[in-house]
């Protein structure tokens, strides 16, 4: 139980250990208008067409209404007083891990994060053998050898304008939704990945991310393009609890898979979720969408969502190419007063397209957890197939589990199967495991991990282990 306390204290308290005191902002006006958008573009030294892209998005955004159709209530962000641009932060460097809050270290230990990575996460100066620059350099060399472009989106705008012009906004149009429009106007930074034809990306694009890309800001923008016959796996996020002074996070992620290409995108999200009363905590309003443009292409989303006060997120796949495949594997855990409304959209357009949805929602405390999904077969989607399994587990009697699956078919040769169940961690299961010598908390952790197994096995190996532990930590002490 002490670990729970530690975690709660840690994420509930102000950071005493240096993170929040010395953050430097560049002078920047509050609120948003065309001048602010121009200024952002100027600060980033962007070409004219990019400025236009942003302005276009901004104008669209001003005409849109903030959505309210989801199953969550929260105080709407005040866009007048929001700071829409902040320069990369300069974290103070600590000299050794001993200076890090021992509670934070305890959590790192519990999650099994390697020592060197712990240092980076905590902002400790690292030695020459394993500093981020050298890792990054060797990483880049290896990718360059394979011909893979992997850089920040800002860099890509400068270096690969043709690719950006061609693909940015092509999957998530600037007018797609309120938060996507806002992101398109003010996005801070993010990642760009281009995998050329006939290329298997030689490594998981994850380690780099975990260490170097912790501060892309609140309006992150990601674009991944997989050319014909290519393959890439990408992981964002981190099991370690993440604290950020920005409450609103509105990212946009666009994936494009061409003929026979495959993109696997995994997310572990453990942002600060607010205190017991639901105060504070991140609003995580993300638009993630992939387009299977090519024949036999495949896009797979895997997500483990445990953090944030409010999560609204529907990673989707547009299955345009014949025989293309879309997958969505999700575990969403809510505790305390968290609210998650998450799911996916699978839009079948091409022939013989297939999609699979496996969603596991776990609600505990006073939280509400909703699955919201759309499976749509267009008239021309001959022989399309979908299978969805949406299971909810409730822990305790003050939480809620909701399932809103929208299913539509306009093609008589298609086949859609949707199943959903609701269950709980049974007292008989806990007793059985306790009788075999396992403590109550471990028993719950085992049962929950069993419940989520079909999703967790989709995560890259090294993260699956951490993910298991994270689930346990998240739910400790929530039964009985």
């Amino acid at each position: 139980m002490s670990e729970t306390k530690a975690l709660e204290t840690m994420i509930g308290e102000e950071y005493k250990y240096g993170f929040s005191t010395d953050i430097e902002y560049e002078e920047f006006p509050l609120g948003i208008n065309e001048d602010v958008v121009r200024l952002i573009s100027e600060k980033k030294n962007e070409p004219e067409w990019m400025t236009e892209f942003r302005l276009n998005a901004y104008r669209a955004w001003t005409e849109m209404e903030e959505p309210d159709w989801f199953n969550a209530t929260y105080e709407k962000p005040n866009f007048e007083t929001l700071q829409f641009y902040s320069a990369p932060k300069h974290r103070p460097k600590l000299d050794s891990l001993d200076e890090v809050d021992p509670k934070i270290r305890e959590t790192y230990e519990k999650l099994g994060i390697p020592l060197e990575e712990q240092k980076m996460l905590a902002g400790v100066a690292v030695d020459a053998v394993f500093d981020s620059v050298s890792v990054f350099t060797s990483f880049k060399e290896k990718l360059a050898e394979a011909g893979v472009i992997f850089c920040s989106i800002s860099e890509a705008i400068q270096e690969y304008p043709e690719l950006i012009k061609k693909y940015m906004g092509s999957v998530v149009p600037v007018r797609d939704n309120f938060y996507a429009a806002l992101n398109s106007a003010v996005f801070s930074d993010g990642s760009f990945c281009y995998v050329p034809k006939d290329t298997i990306c030689p490594m998981e694009l994850s380690t780099y991310f975990r260490i170097n890309n912790m501060n892309s800001g609140q309006f992150e923008r990601t674009l991944i393009i997989a050319e014909e016959n290519s393959h890439v796996s990408y992981l964002e996020g981190c099991t370690a609890p993440m604290y950020d002074e920005h409450q609103l996070h509105a990212a946009v992620v666009e994936l494009v898979a061409l003929d026979n290409a495959e993109i696997k995108y995994s997310t572990i999200q453990n942002w600060y979720s607010g205190d017991e009363d639901g105060k504070g905590g991140i609003y995580n309003f993300v638009t993630k969408r992939g387009a299977c443009r090519g024949k036999n292409s495949k896009i797979s989303w895997t997500q483990l969502e445990t953090g944030s006060a409010v999560t609204l997120k529907y990673p989707s796949v547009i299955l345009q190419g014949d025989n293309s495949i879309g997958e969505f594997y999700s575990v969403a855990v809510t505790n305390k007063k968290q609210q998650a409304d998450t799911g996916t959209k699978m839009i079948h357009i091409g022939k013989n397209t297939k999609s699979t949805i496996i969603s596991k929602g776990i609600s505990a405390g006073n939280s509400n957890n909703s699955y919201r999904g759309l499976v749509k077969f267009n008239r021309k989607a001959e022989n399309a197939r979908n299978f969805s399994q949406c299971d909810s587990m409730l822990i305790g009697q003050t939480c809620g589990a909701h399932t809103f699956p929208y299913i539509e078919s306009a093609n008589p040769t298609g086949k859609i199967e949707h199943e959903a169940t609701t269950s709980r961690v049974g007292e008989d299961q806990i007793f059985y495991l306790q009788q075999r010598g396992i403590s109550e908390d471990d028993a719950i952790s085992l049962i929950v991990n069993g419940f989520c197994k079909d999703v967790l096995k989709e995560l890259p190996m090294e993260f699956a282990v951490e993910a298991n532990k994270l689930l346990g930590i998240k739910l400790e002490g929530s039964v009985g």
Binding site: G426, E427, D428, Q429, F431, Y432, L433, Q434, Q435, R436, G437, I438, S439, E440, D442, A443, L446, I447, N449, G450, F451, C452, K453, D454
Partner: protein, 257 residues
């Protein structure tokens, strides 16, 4: 090893008394059989000893190796060496048998100062035990009891017992739902595992199991009490005359215990 002293127990919060003064002493190396009709309290007895949260001991005490275990959680009792083979083994979807057993084995080992086994060592160790109950190694990677037949579940319980090596095994209706071959395999397994260092309590409705596992003592329960205690021949007598025979017996003798 195990001593029940005038134990009264009821369903937690509901005030329904199920055990009404049970006293029983079990020593190392002994096999006891507890028999009785449905609803006599014999399964409750097993649950109370292993610490099921549904039951509350309202009076009396339970000593294990001389110390009261009433305040211990079920997992702590398991660490102490108490094993319950469930009448209805619980399904735990997504958790494999191996995962459960390694977790169990290592926590019990740690609490008893034995050495924990790494995954490879553990794998060797459990494969040995599989043979004891003639189980297919495929079982190891299947979710605990999920989709198992009734017989497979019961075998799985004995397999777990073999792996965890308890000092006191409570076998609750382990024979029910087993065909004759499975009954033989399970019984042989139990016999092989039993040594002079541990004790076994067999809870059963029928005498059948006792053809395979010979008890040192037979106790008959009725309405929350042990109404008769004897040797293995008592079981045969019961089989022949039925539980109603006891009614006349107890009335005639005028004593309830």
């Amino acid at each position: 090893m195990l001593e029940l002293k005038d134990v009264y127990a009821e369903v937690e919060g509901e005030g329904i008394e199920i055990l009404k003064g049970v006293s029983l002493t079990i020593n190392k190396g002994e096999i006891h059989a507890i028999m009785g009709p449905n609803g006599s309290g014999k399964s409750t007895l097993a649950k109370v000893v292993s610490g099921h949260p549904e039951y509350e001991v309202t009076q009396g005490d339970i000593l294990f190796n001389g110390e009261s275990i009433l305040e211990l959680d079920p997992d702590e009792r398991a660490h102490a060496g108490i094993f319950l083979a469930f009448q209805y083994p619980v399904e735990v979807p997504g958790v494999t048998n191996t995962t459960l057993l390694r977790e169990s084995y290592n926590t019990i080992a740690a609490s008893r100062g034995r050495e924990e086994l790494d995954p490879l060592e553990f794998d060797d160790y459990i494969r040995e035990k599989l043979d004891l109950v003639e189980m297919n190694p495929d079982f190891l990677e299947r979710s605990v009891n999920t989709g198992f037949s009734g017989g497979e579940k019961k075998r799985n319980e004995i397999f777990q017992m073999a792996v965890l090596q308890p000092s006191l095994a409570l076998l609750d209706e382990t024979d029910s739902g087993l065909d004759i071959d499975a009954l033989r395999v399970v019984s042989e397994g139990i016999n092989k595992l039993h040594t002079s260092e541990d004790a076994v309590i067999l809870i059963t409705h029928y005498q059948r199991l006792l053809n395979y596992i010979v008890p040192d003592f037979v106790h008959v329960m009725r309405d929350g009490r042990i109404v008769k205690t004897g040797g293995k021949e008592l079981a045969l007598e019961l089989e022949e005359k039925g539980y109603d025979w006891l009614d006349s017996q107890t009335t005639v003798n005028g004593e309830v215990k």
